[in-house]
Amino acid sequence: MNNPWTTESLFEALRSDPSADLKAADLRLVGGVDPTLNIVLHEHGDLTLHLAVSGEQIFVSTPLCRGSQVKDRNAFNDACLRLNPLNPLSNLGLQSAGGEDIYIVFGELSSRSPLPAVIEEIHVLADNTLQAAEAFADHLK
């Protein structure tokens, strides 16, 4: 609790903690200097979460949909902004990856958070993302 997590130490902790409750998940550490933890949740339809720790923050993010999958971007942005305050612990955002717009659902927490809080964040983020995807079905192609 006193020492902040790094991406590596969090990876080890999640992998080896018997109470981690991430049995139905693939954990993979990718990248070199600033590695990212990829978490594939099988019980959430193989939803892939990306987690990175930097200094005082843990950032967990998952792609909601591609910009190209949205029927009306303005209407969708509006809907996202309206949903965001109702979404507990997670935020909706827009980023570019690989040259295309990706809507993401993400959460941030302190890198001094205890392991159960990190695990809860992972589960809540996955649940919220699937619920958001379902709620936005009308907006998506």
Binding site: G31, D34, G45, T48, V53, S54, Q57, T62, G98, V105
Partner: protein, 253 residues
């Protein structure tokens, strides 16, 4: 803080027409770095100023203490002179004391001003420290976001060759629905199978009851069959005949 957001948002607006987010991230980091440096410079300056003013205040306070000592001393002289009925001398000292008391009042004001400056500088140091820690947090966020974005871009690139794209929640939803459908189908098949087996068992049981197929409790009929095969055996019991006819029936069916 607001000015930083303005700068970053301006960057996004510019980048919409340009290569992409890498430029924005690099520039966002540069802006944040610059802000941290500015805030740190401001903090150092505030601390320098604070040190100088605190030194000046100490000098002024020491001088004031000297003057206050003199004020007491001259007061004592006046009292002493008056007690000896030397009013002229007391008058002379009183003129000097008037000057000292004026100085003490002025110095007191100067020190109060120093104190005000000191608390202002301490407040702005604290503020600068807060700004710096917030900026550092923001830098952490940008860095973490950056590594995650890199990972997502790498995933997107990995799938680029195969025609597949970076998996999103929509794909996961599809997968979940597909799995649910599959599971439902499996469940249905299993149920049908179970029902079919159940029907067979029931039919078989009823056939056996009717004596059309051999039932479980066919020890009697087995014995009867053996008895029937015995050439010398008497066949007064109707059961073996039934057993034989059952065997014939099941063979022909």
């Amino acid at each position: 803080m607001a000015s930083i957001f303005t700068k970053i948002i301006t960057l996004f607006r510019g980048a919409a027409h340009e290569a992409g987010s890498a430029v924005v991230d690099a520039n966002a980091m540069r802006i944040l770095d610059q802000e941290v440096r500015d805030a740190q410079t401001a903090l150092l300056r505030a601390r320098d100023d604070l040190a100088k003013i605190m030194a000046q205040r100490k000098i002024a306070a020491d001088k004031l203490a000297d003057k206050q000592a003199k004020q007491n001393e001259y007061g004592n002289y006046i009292r002493e002179a008056l007690s000896r009925d030397n009013r002229a001398l007391a008058q002379e000292v009183a003129v000097k004391l008037a000057q000292i008391e004026a100085d003490v009042a002025t110095d007191g004001k100067v020190i109060a001003e120093y104190d005000a400056s000191i608390s202002k500088l301490q407040a702005s140091s604290r503020q600068a420290e807060t700004v710096i820690s917030r900026l550092k947090q923001q830098i952490d966020t940008v860095k973490a976001t950056e590594s995650v974005q890199r990972a997502q871009a790498a995933l997107a690139a990995q799938h680029a060759g195969t025609g597949a794209k970076l998996g999103t929640a929509l794909d996961s939803l599809e997968r979940i629905k597909l799995r649910q459908t599959e599971r439902a189908a499996q469940l249905q098949v299993a149920e049908e199978l179970a029902a079919a087996t159940g029907e067979d068992t029931d039919l078989h049981r009823r056939l056996a009851q009717a004596g059309i197929v051999p039932g479980e409790a066919s020890a009697d009929s087995i014995l009867a069959r053996f008895e029937a095969q015995q050439p010398k055996a008497l066949t007064h019991d109707p059961a073996p005949q039934l057993g034989q006819s059952v065997g014939a029936a099941s063979k022909t069916s």
